[in-house]
């Protein structure tokens, strides 16, 4: 059952009103322009045991994506493809409002939006991840681990996932007759990718759109739209969230902004994965 949540964290009324007032003038409390992302920093490979990993800091938000590869069964209706599983955990370390326990609806939504954004444009070429058709396939786990929540977890998680997948190397398979075993000592084959993807999340305040809302902004904005774009400039996913509606006109603007900002984010991702060694510090 989905229940109207308590608004967290509770913000002083004056502060909230000030944020709104500024947004209406096109200004933000952290001096960004309405369509500016906060600074993004990336650390690659921080989890050596994972097949791929990335820590993304988007302003104060920190998300780790860790990619693990296991052997498993392909889905019955996809006997010739590998399997992608995206999960998100909002661990209580990351925010006073996160509780221990199984993922709540917010974490599930984040994971499913990332999953669909990867799946629909076939960002990963799953057909190359089959080992024995109908019987054995690579199962790729992308785990999105939020460790500090300062707003816009989705974009941070999407960027971290995309980078972690792009730097993933599959372990070697040792095949002898029927038996197939994973040798994690040798990791060589990169995950086959067709395109990079990102999401662009905007807060909605009437007809004003606010890219990459911070936690403070999230708590005064009621409504959000996240649009997923790929390298071909296509829309590969969309999710409206929050308590209020959006007009068709504002939706049009949101698409326009998402395509433009998405391209910038994708360039950034491309830059990171093309010189990964420069991002291997934590």
């Amino acid at each position: 059952m989905s229940i109207t949540p308590q608004r967290e964290p509770i913000m002083p009324k004056l502060r909230a009103e000030n944020i709104i007032k500024m947004l209406k003038k096109g200004e933000r409390v952290d001096n960004r322009g309405l369509y500016d992302y906060r600074s993004i920093s990336v650390s690659i490979g921080i989890i050596g045991k994972a097949e791929g990993s990335a820590l993304v800091k988007l302003g104060g938000t920190q998300v780790i994506a860790g990619v693990k590869a296991e052997l498993g069964s392909p889905y019955e209706d996809r006997p010739n493809e590998g399997v992608l599983q995206v999960h998100a955990e909002f661990v209580p370390l990351a925010s006073p409002s996160f509780e221990p326990g199984p993922p709540n609806e917010d974490a599930i939504e984040v994971a499913r939006v990332i999953d669909r954004s990867l799946r629909e444009p076939r960002a990963i070429e799953l057909s190359k991840l089959i080992v024995q058709p109908g019987r054995l396939a690579w199962v790729i786990y992308d785990d999105v681990y939020v460790i500090d929540h300062d707003g816009n977890i989705l974009d941070a998680g999407m960027i971290a996932s995309m980078i972690a997948l792009a730097v993933t190397k599959l372990p070697k398979l040792e095949i002898s007759g029927e038996s197939v075993k994973i040798n994690r000592e040798v990791k060589e084959t990169p995950l086959p990718l067709n395109t990079l993807v990102t999401t662009v999340t905007m807060g909605v305040l009437g007809d004003i759109l606010v890219v990459d809302p911070s936690l403070e902004e999230e708590s005064v904005l009621d409504t959000f739209i996240s649009i997923s774009v790929d390298e071909k400039g296509r829309i590969v996913g969309l999710q409206k969230k929050g308590l209020k509606s959006i007009t068709p006109k504002t939706l049009d603007s949101a698409v326009e902004i998402a395509l433009k900002k998405g391209e910038q984010v994708l360039s950034f991702i491309r830059k990171v994965i093309s010189s990964p060694q420069e991002y291997m510090k934590w």
């Binding site: 996913g237 999710q239 959006i246």
Partner: protein
């Protein structure tokens, strides 16, 4: 997606079930179908059958109460026999997400501030799934809320637009959902012209996206008209009885 992908647009330009791209399936609506609920509705979009019930405004546990408004509590749930394969009754991640998405669509129209500390509970049961269950469920929920007398800014009509064999089509069925290139569920408050639910599961160019939204709005307007008529008939019947 590979081997036996069926053709979804026939040579004559019609869809697998003989519809034109802009056609809705036959839609049935009925309100007040349950005795216990404060409001209820049965909605069918072709083979998709959904029933919704509303309880409330009613007392709710302290832990979930809000001081300045009612909480909405929404459950989207599929019956075990609603799908081709028997479905386990435990809620799936999909059902959890859709419950949230439908709740948020309703938040945008219900005057929750009239009932502080109360809850308004909406239960949606998918009896048969043949594509568009969340949008049919949203339509049913909106009708059930109206049937329960819950004040709202507007009714909400749901419909899924899709892209199949490259063509943007209205109200996709299960086959079109499974083998098509995109599924875009839309919830539209047609009286005030606002979008309350929008998701995209698939790939569209910006132009296709625009076209899809336009087609969805037009479809939703037709469903919205049928909703009005359904409620109107019921109230007439009440007045005449």
């Amino acid at each position: 997606m590979s081997e036996s992908r069926p053709r979804l647009i026939r040579e004559d330009g019609l869809r697998v079930d003989g519809r034109k791209p802009e056609d809705l399936r036959p839609i049935r609506m009925e309100v007040e179908v349950l005795k216990n609920a404060n409001g209820s509705a049965l909605v069918e979009y072709g083979g998709t059958k959904v029933i919704a019930a509303v309880y409330g405004p009613r007392e709710t546990p302290k832990a979930v109460q809000l001081p300045d408004r009612a909480v909405l509590r929404v459950r989207y749930h599929m019956a075990p026999f609603s799908t081709s394969e028997h479905k386990s009754p435990a809620p799936t991640r999909r059902e959890i997400e859709l419950s949230k998405v439908i709740r948020e669509a309703l938040e945008a129209v219900v005057f929750t501030d009239q009932f502080p500390r109360a809850s308004i509970d909406v239960f949606i049961e998918v009896l048969q799934a043949d594509g568009g269950t969340r949008t049919a469920g949203l339509t049913a929920a909106s009708l059930a809320l109206a049937d329960a007398g819950i004040p709202m800014r507007d009714l909400v009509a749901g419909v899924a637009v899709g892209k199949v064999d490259g063509v943007i089509v209205l109200d996709i069925n299960e086959l079109e959902d499974e083998y098509g290139e995109a599924d875009m569920p839309l919830g539209y408050a047609a009286g005030i012209g606002e979008i309350v639910l929008l998701q995209l599961n698939g790939v569209l160019t910006p132009e296709e996206f625009k076209k899809a939204v336009e087609l969805g709005k037009r479809g939703a307007e037709r469903i919205y008209a049928q909703m009005k008529e359904t409620l109107h008939k019921k109230y007439l019947a009440v007045l005449e009885s």
